[in-house]
Amino acid sequence: MTDAAAVQAAPPPDDAADWQRLHPATLALAIVKLGPRSFQFLPAVAALGFTGNWGYIVPAILAFLLISLLAAWFQWLRFRFRVGDDEVVIESGVLSRQHRTIPFDRIQDVSIEQGLVARALGIARVGFETGAGGKENDASLDAVGLDAAQALRRTIRAHRSGEVAAPAAADTPDAAAASDDRLLFAMSPRQLLVAGLFNFSLAALAVVGAAMQFFDDLLPFDFNVFNPRDWIDLAGQYGLDQWVIAHRWIAGVGAGISLLFIGFASGIATMFFANWGFRLTREPRTLRRTRGLTTRTDVAVPVKRVQAAILITGWFRQRFGWHELRLQSLASDGEKERDHQVVPFARLDAIDPVLAEVAIARPGADAAWQQSHHIIALGGLVGALGATTGGLVVVAFGQALGWFGPVVGGLIAAASLFGVRFHRWTDLGEQVAIRRGFWKPKLTLLPHASVQSVDLKSDFIQRPLGLATLVFGVPGGSALATHEIPAIPLATARDLRDRILTARARA
């Protein structure tokens, strides 16, 4: 692998020497990826088996492997990229060729990600963050040597900072002094352990349950390790059931303790796997985050692209002052998360410096919070009514299970009536703060300058009450979780809308 940073001056466009291939280990990655993909082949194997053509199964699997490997090899052969003076050129595709040019100016930053296998092979996946919407618009190089990846990132960053250092410094005067990379936040194993304890979750049980369903049909023998009934049968054969009935209190306590253990263990494990070696550093133009135990990711959030900050906590961890900070940016964080988690678990005094880097301030203790109208509980109440009537209808048909309906309905009604009190907002002059939720309190800090459009909504319920809902169009984030201030007086809503839009015009 040649050094990607070794860029010659004005290379001729078709100089074969300049083009680079991906690391040959790409083929090894392709073999690893074959594992999950061979599941697609199961129906074919089953079909061959049912029709009695057992002899064809092995050749068919071999042919499948061979074709997959050949395809991977062809793709590797036809994929090449070139790092030019001020652009990255990528050519790919076996049958339909794709030629993509990405100017350095448009690359916000370069992310580097290493999975478990990739780390063993010393390669990394390089993603170019261009700020273009949609996953498919961002280019990536699946496997290059780790040092080449870092050299590539250095090249692009050097190009960018050399060109725009002056304006960037003018934009953030307080951050400009620190031209070197500064560590903003890191997590020690001890902090991870504390965070993991608060991360108590019984989601692992659901995974076991799903595995139980899945393996029930698959395992050839009659004993399914994931099915508790099989274990109970086994226990019954040894007279264990008699013992359990005789000592049911001990058994109950044991079950409770093991549930607690599973919850804490899975919480700690997910925290350790995701956030091992967590480091958040401030670099000239970006916040860079590296983390992960098996899959190490290296993600950069350009400071100027940050649209909003979201502080999340929980009803219990709030009492100990623990919060999580997410930043909403134009790009999304990986495939699952929309917002970038920049501080997974910290007290507010550790979060404030990070917020200062993106020029967002938390409302002080004296902030004048205003409440949304209680009418927003109506949705929950209608749902509760539906659950109650549904349950009662089932009861009327003689199903005792239907009593769940009124119980759940009552809980929903109580929760929505109680949760209404936590819908608050305040205008801090340069930004709006929106707070909501009791179980998982969430504080959104939205700078006026991020607002692209404002909706003022009212409907046949809010209008007679003189209320309106403000919905803000903000780049990035999830389309499902829009930023809104529900059910506030119409005059206040109009006033706030005007202030936000004029503040933007001044900027």
Partner: protein
Amino acid sequence: MTDTPAAHPTDPFDPEAVNAAEGLDPVDPAYAKVLRVATALNLIPLAIGASLFDWLLIRHIEGPYGLITALAWLVAITVIATFPSRRVSRWGYRIGDGQLRVARGWLFRTDTIVPFVRVQHIDVGQGPVERAFGLSHLIVHTSGTHNSTVTLPGLPADLAAAMRETIRRHIQTDFA
């Protein structure tokens, strides 16, 4: 609710009231015809489907044959005749002060403001039905995830083009 003088009609069900009270311009009345054609194209196949269902199934199970057909056509004709003009009267827009304002709906009313400087790009579109009535629609794209496109239908074609030019000039002066 309003801060404008009571020169406007105050009957909340008066179609003029909603827009006038909020200082909005109405869209072209010809848009009602476009909506009527579009509604008809949607509902008439549904009514035909309901009639077929009635004819093929209800008749054979000796149900109340004709009831569904009559109901379907009644609803379709009522909706086609009355709804479009009501919906059109709820659309309103205002262009000026460096911002585009689009309001729509009554039961669920949404009043959107997009500052010109936040516009990413602008489309002026014209469907075949709109072309027949000399209308266009204006689509404004923003970079927000919510409201990434704001559509204003029912504009005379030349007005839509003029609005596009206005917004375009603002975008240019902003970058200059």
